[in-house]
Amino acid sequence: MFDFLEGYDLLGAFWVTVQLTFWSALGSLVWGTLLAAMRVGPVPLMRAFGTAYVTVVRNIPLTVIIVFTSLGLFQTLGISLGADRFTTINFRLAVLGLTAYTSAFVCEALRSGINTVPLGQVEAARAIGLSFPQILRIIVLPQAFRSVVGPLANVLIALTKNTTVAAAIGVAEAALLMREMIENEAQLILVSAVFAFGFICLTLPTGLLLGRLAKKVAVKR
C-alpha cells in the first residue's frame, strides 16, 4: 500500500524541515529578544526602530520575504551568505528570511511577558540602584521568559509550519517533496495523508511538551 514511497527521501525532507526550524528558532530567539529589549528600553530611537521593525515585518507576507531573499538578495545583489552550493545558499537564505519574520513575533510574545512582571519588582530593582541592562538581565527577562513559554511554543509551532514556505525558493523540505510526489504518483490522498501525518508528528509533541513545561516553570503569582 505504501510502496509509492520508494525512491523518495521522505525522512530526509522532514529532516531538512527540522533543521530549518531549529536554526530559524535559534536566530529569531536572539534577534527577537534584542528587539524586545529595544522596544522597552530608555533610548527613544531604539524604541522607534523596534516598533517600526515589528509593524512592518508583521504586515509583510513571509512568502514575499522568502522569495525576496532568493530573487532580490541572491540573484540580484549576489549575497550568498558564504555558501557556494545552490542547496546550501537557498537553505541559508530561507533561514535568514524565517528569522527576520519570526523574530517580530518572538519580540511581541516577550514584550507581553515583560508586562506580566509586577511593578514592585522593577521598582525595588531601581531602588537598589540597578541599571536598565541589569534590571532586564537579572530581574525582568528571566521571569518574562518563564511566563511566555506557552506563547513562544505557539510561535515555534507556527515556525515549524512556516518552514514549508522555503519550498518557494527550492529548499528540498517536506512541502517541495510533496509537490513532486503529487505530480508523479497517483495516490493523491495517501501522499497528502503521509505529509499531514508528518507535520502532526512534528507539531503536536512540541505543543504538548512545551505546554507541560510552560505550566511547570510559570511564575506563581
Binding site: 530611537l45 514556505v165 497528502s192 503569582r221
Partner: protein, 323 residues
C-alpha cells in the same frame, strides 16, 4: 486550563493577574525618569545606534548601487507609467483581495460554527469539532493548498485557470476556520459566567443563550484576535502566487521586473508596501469598528487578544472546562 482573563473596567477580580500595562506605562517603569547623566548616556546610545543604522544603510545602498538597482529608470515607471499599474499591479491586487475576501467570508461562519460546536454539551459533537480543529491547525496551510489544488485537478472539472484561486481559498478556509474556531471559543469563555446564568434564569434555551446573549457580546471581545487572523489570511494568499501559479501580487514581480529592466528590488519594494497598506487598512477599519462597538451598550468590556487565544489553545490539549 485557565479561563482567558476578563478585564473589568471598574472592579478587577481580587485574584486576577496584575492588569497588563499599556506601552506608555511599561516604557516608564523599567527605568527612572532620566536625569542629566542618564540623558547623556541615552544620547550616546542614540548616536551609536544611529551610526550602526547609517552603516547598514550605506552598505545596502552601496550594494544596490553596485548592481545598478538605484537607477531612476528602474523606479520611475511606478510613478510615471500608468501601464505598470494597469497591466500588472492592479489586476494582481484585485486577485489578492478576491482570494482573501472569499476566504474571510467563508472562514468566519465556519469558524464560528466549529467554535460553538467545541463548547457543545454533547461529548460527541465536542470531540468531533475538536478533532477537526486540531487536525487543520497542526498542518501547514501550504500543504492544504497543494492538496486542494491536486484534488480539484483530479476529481473536479474546474478549469486550470481558476483552479489556483479555488485551491488557495480552500486551503485558507480550512486552516483559518479552525484557528477562528479557537478565537470564538476564547471569546465566549471570556464572558462573565453570570451572563449564562442570567440567560438560564429567564428561561432561555441553550441555542437562545448562544444566539442572543453570548455571541453578540463576544464579537466585540474577539475583534483584536479576529483581526490578526484576517491579516494572516491576506498574507497567506501570497503562498498561492509562489507555489500554485495564482496571479496575485507576489506573482506579479517576475513578469513586471522582466518588462521594466530587471528592477527586482523596486518591484519587491512596491509589492511589500502594497501588502503593508492593505493590512494597515484592515487593522484601522477594525479598530474603528471596535471603538464603535465598545461605545454601544452590548459590550461587557472583556477583551480577547491573539495571545489569550494562544494561551487557551495549546494544540493537543483537550477542550477546557465549559462555562
Amino acid at each position: 486550563m485557565r479561563r482567558a482573563p476578563a478585564s473589568h473596567e471598574k472592579a478587577p477580580p481580587a485574584k486576577a493577574k496584575p492588569p497588563a500595562r499599556t506601552e506608555a506605562e511599561s516604557a516608564t517603569v523599567l527605568y527612572d525618569v532620566p536625569g542629566p547623566r542618564a540623558r547623556r548616556r541615552n544620547l550616546l546610545w542614540t548616536v551609536l545606534f544611529l551610526a550602526a543604522l547609517a552603516g547598514v544603510a550605506w552598505w545596502v545602498i552601496a550594494g544596490l548601487d553596485a548592481k545598478n538597482q538605484l537607477e531612476a529608470a528602474k523606479w520611475e515607471p511606478f510613478v510615471t507609467d500608468g501601464r505598470v499599474w494597469e497591466t500588472y499591479l492592479l489586476p494582481a491586487l484585485k486577485n489578492t483581495v478576491i482570494a482573501a475576501g472569499l476566504a474571510m467570508v467563508l472562514a468566519l461562519p465556519l469558524g464560528a460554527l466549529l467554535g460553538i460546536a467545541r463548547l457543545s454539551d454533547h461529548r460527541a459533537v465536542r470531540a468531533g469539532a475538536g478533532t477537526v480543529v486540531e487536525f487543520f491547525r497542526a498542518i501547514p496551510v501550504l500543504i492544504l493548498m497543494l492538496f486542494a489544488n491536486a484534488a480539484y485537478a483530479e476529481f473536479t472539472d474546474i478549469s486550470p485557470e481558476t483552479r489556483p484561486l479555488y485551491a488557495v481559498v480552500t486551503g485558507l478556509v480550512l486552516y483559518n476556520a479552525s484557528v477562528l474556531a479557537e478565537v470564538v471559543r476564547a471569546g465566549i469563555l471570556a464572558l462573565p459566567a453570570g451572563q449564562t446564568d442570567a440567560a438560564k434564569a429567564i428561561g432561555m434555551r441553550k441555542g437562545q443563550t448562544m444566539a442572543y446573549v453570548l455571541l453578540p457580546q463576544s464579537v466585540t471581545a474577539m475583534l483584536p484576535a479576529l483581526v490578526s487572523q484576517l491579516v494572516v489570511i491576506v498574507k497567506d494568499t501570497a503562498l498561492g502566487g509562489a507555489m500554485l501559479g495564482f496571479a496575485e501580487l507576489l506573482a506579479s514581480v517576475r513578469p513586471m521586473s522582466a518588462n521594466y529592466g530587471a528592477n527586482t528590488i523596486a518591484c519587491f519594494t512596491v509589492v511589500a508596501v502594497l501588502f503593508v497598506l492593505l493590512n494597515v487598512v484592515l487593522t484601522t477599519f477594525a479598530s474603528w469598528l471596535e471603538r464603535r462597538l465598545r461605545r454601544g451598550k452590548r459590550s461587557t468590556g472583556a477583551v480577547v487578544t491573539a495571545e489569550a487565544v494562544e494561551d487557551l489553545a495549546t494544540p493537543g490539549e483537550p477542550p477546557g472546562p465549559k462555562p
